[in-house]
Symmetry: C2
Subunit: 209 residues, 2 copies
């Protein structure tokens, strides 16, 4: 098991959710926001929102609300997403293509620096306007790019090999969509995304009443 995070993971997930809503408020030209409005936007209760902000010490003023820009920068700084970060995307199939097209990359200041695949039919082509490189070149190309984050949108049997290449290339954080537990050296963090697990959780929730 990976070592603990200083801020509990559920709090980190909520903070990431807030940051997105704050970005949207900022784009819409809104300068202050109340915890009640944040509840409307995120689905996280106003009480939980105020509690989560205690990670920064107190800085909201009752009745005035929070400064959108200030709050957004503080959370972004905490999550270390204030500067642009290059991300490597491995897998140019349906899933990879859907992820590339997903809105919001820019809100979190992630940039897809390179897309890789091992399918000769895809290598050298484009997906959503991005060039597809040979997955055999991950180490070589990341020497230039210097990305620390990799996304695995590959079939389960390929995932471990890809993870190995990404780690060799200097990546220390992986988001894995393949339904397989990745073996990685200590110091490498993996976030596993499994929508079937979410469906199973949902099944419990809708039947518990």
């Amino acid at each position: 098991m990976t070592r603990a995070s200083r801020i509990p993971l559920p709090a980190l997930e909520r903070l990431s959710t807030y940051v997105r809503s704050l970005m949207e408020l900022k784009s819409a030209g809104k300068q202050t926001v109340s915890s009640r409005e944040m509840e409307e936007l995120t689905g996280v209760t106003a009480a939980q929102f105020r509690k989560d902000l205690s990670y920064f010490g107190e800085f909201g003023r009752r009745g005035v609300g929070y400064n959108v820009c200030d709050l957004q920068s503080r959370i972004a700084a905490l999550l270390r997403i204030e500067a642009e970060q290059p991300v490597l995307m491995v897998g140019a199939g349906n899933l990879g293509s859907a992820l590339i097209a997903y809105p919001g990359w820019n809100a979190y200041r992630f940039r897809i620096a390179a897309v890789f695949d091992n399918d000769p039919q895809k290598i050298g082509g484009e997906v959503r306007g991005l060039h597809v490189y040979d997955a055999g070149r991950i180490v070589e190309l990341n020497a230039e790019i210097g990305s620390q984050i990799g996304l695995l949108a590959v079939p389960a049997p390929a995932a471990q090999g890809v993870a190995g290449a990404l780690v060799e290339a200097g990546v220390t954080g992986l988001v894995n969509f393949a339904p397989v537990k990745l073996d990685t050296p200590p110091g490498v963090r993996v976030r596993q995304i499994s929508f079937l697990r979410e469906l199973a959780v949902l099944s419990y929730l809708i039947h518990q009443d």
Copy 2:
């Protein structure tokens, strides 16, 4: 905010993870499993695994391990995934197509009963061997299917409308991939999947040291 779950969500997520590994062990003909082996398979520590099983009362025997089949059925019964459940998939684009092709639907006994889209070019066609129906027919067709679970693999601007149709059709649980908070009536559960949020969490984790 939705009402609380009787079993904490992180525990439900771990239980869903165990059930998948147990299915795989069962398929491989394995009859017993130790908490240490489960740690290898799932990445959840043996101690946490044993603790999670306390939701069922004690039934492992020290040194003997757990009966794979028995444990799998107990967890499946708890999560209410022991009987096959039909699921409605809305969105037949890249993401929907990737989700349909995702391995493991059967392990959780979910079955994609119908795929919907609003694109005239897709309606009447097939995606991964499944017929694509007009999204305008969700209510009509679910009167027959009786699904309680819907997956939203649609663009953000379409998500709220689709959610409304699914709820009208009798769905009480939604898994939403669109980066938008869905407004749903009380009693409807929503699980939000956001890989960009996971990337932001990852950014914190890899930089915290």
